[in-house]
Symmetry: C2
DNA sequence: GTCTATAGTCGGATAGAC
DNA sequence: GTCTATCCGACTATAGAC
């Protein structure tokens, strides 16, 4: 029954690694790096505490491995969105007004991808970890930013530029892109205020749809041909 | 030289309390509740470690006292804004279109107050603490929400309602208000991404002005009479 | 109200048997 | 690769002198 092939991803060691990363994601997300103890993580993973040292070199190594895992999950989810965007950008019209309209549509598609990703049930733990890292970024944040987030921000900036009159490399364009991201992400970041002000507990599929709908309305107004989007 | 009056706010004990709260604000903000040690706080405050127990009952008590301090600072800063808003709302025109325009102006004033408050140099430490509490709120967050943030969110919601066709108690109105807050706050919350994507280190007065300017443009577009703000 | 000293706890790491 | 046992440092809280 046991598979001796060392490349088998279900070998005993691999199972242990997976169990630890999975448990660490939850425990680190819940408690933060310092408050999370290796004892509680190993207990949640049903694995011996000493194995954290063996497999990851220590608590910090496990933490970084968790971010590697988050990166692969985000990449997996956003890859199709990025492909769609790339494809459609290539086919954009030569006509300025038409291109703006096309870019706006693609922009909404891209942000919907973002909203859906963070609407996934298992993303709540990621968000906590990412938000904590944002406060003062360490190597763990580098993994995410270099691996995916930077690319995504640049893609969004390009779409904002194409959907407006702002040059892609202008500060205004980047600021406005950041603001759009803020419109979406605050619901995930500021759980405390969200749940009280909106009486939303967590983010149900209904809540996600409301978010997408209201975001679309907001963006369409901001990028309307007549809008003072200079 | 020494003042024996027990109501004197500069008595030795008061000085100690202040020094501890001040140091705790910085250290808790930097490291988070668990990673911050009472030793490092008392050292930063130039005060004996045992005095945390004496004055605040323990580490947790000091943490709550810090939030009380943040609340008083926020209240102090936002009080004049709230007064201005209240005054101007009372004088709003009967005419629907005019009132929308007036409400939009006041809305921008209110948000500028928010932007300025979080632009203050000393607010960086608050933001860290507030963001951490948002993840899973405790008594400390209650202090802020009950004391100020809930009131502010309701005020913003009222202004959004008056500046649009959305009923004040509708979900859409609250969601859109939340999105506006997100547009502003992400710059403070997501330092890691902000600094990389915008090449902003911290938030200089120039950055704050850019923020206010771009926010105004965004809001004017969203609330333009022709906009699909249903 | 302040200080020193310490009790009591817990956490991360690791040696060494299997 | 896994497990037990343990070391050792760091932490909070507090007793008790001043």
């Amino acid at each position: 029954m046991r598979n001796m092939n060392s490349t088998d991803t279900s070998s005993r060691g691999e199972q242990t690694r997976h169990a630890l990363i999975d448990a660490a994601l939850k425990v680190f997300g819940q408690a933060g790096f310092d408050a999370a103890s290796t004892r509680s993580i190993s207990k949640a993973a049903n694995v011996n505490q000493a194995l954290i040292g063996y497999h990851f070199g220590g608590k910090r190594g496990l933490y970084l491995a968790v971010f590697g895992h988050i990166l692969s999950q985000i990449t997996e989810h956003m890859a199709p969105v990025i492909v769609t965007v790339s494809d459609r950008v290539e086919g954009f019209s030569e006509d300025v007004e038409m291109r703006r309209q096309e870019a706006l549509e693609v922009l909404i598609v891209a942000f919907n991808g973002l909203i859906e990703m963070f609407g996934r049930a298992d993303s709540a733990a990621w968000v906590r970890l990412i938000v904590r890292e944002q406060q003062d970024p360490t190597d763990a944040f580098e993994i995410l930013y270099e691996g995916m987030m930077g690319r995504m921000m640049n893609m969004m900036t390009m779409l904002v530029s194409l959907a407006s009159d702002l040059p892609e490399d202008s500060e205004a364009c980047r600021v406005r892109t950041h603001m759009l991201v803020g419109q979406v992400l605050l619901f995930h970041i500021a759980r405390g205020t969200t749940s009280r002000h909106l009486s939303w507990s967590g983010l149900s599929p209904d809540n996600i749809n409301t978010l997408k709908e209201q975001f679309r309305l907001s963006v369409e107004a901001q990028f309307a041909p007549g809008a003072a989007f200079q």
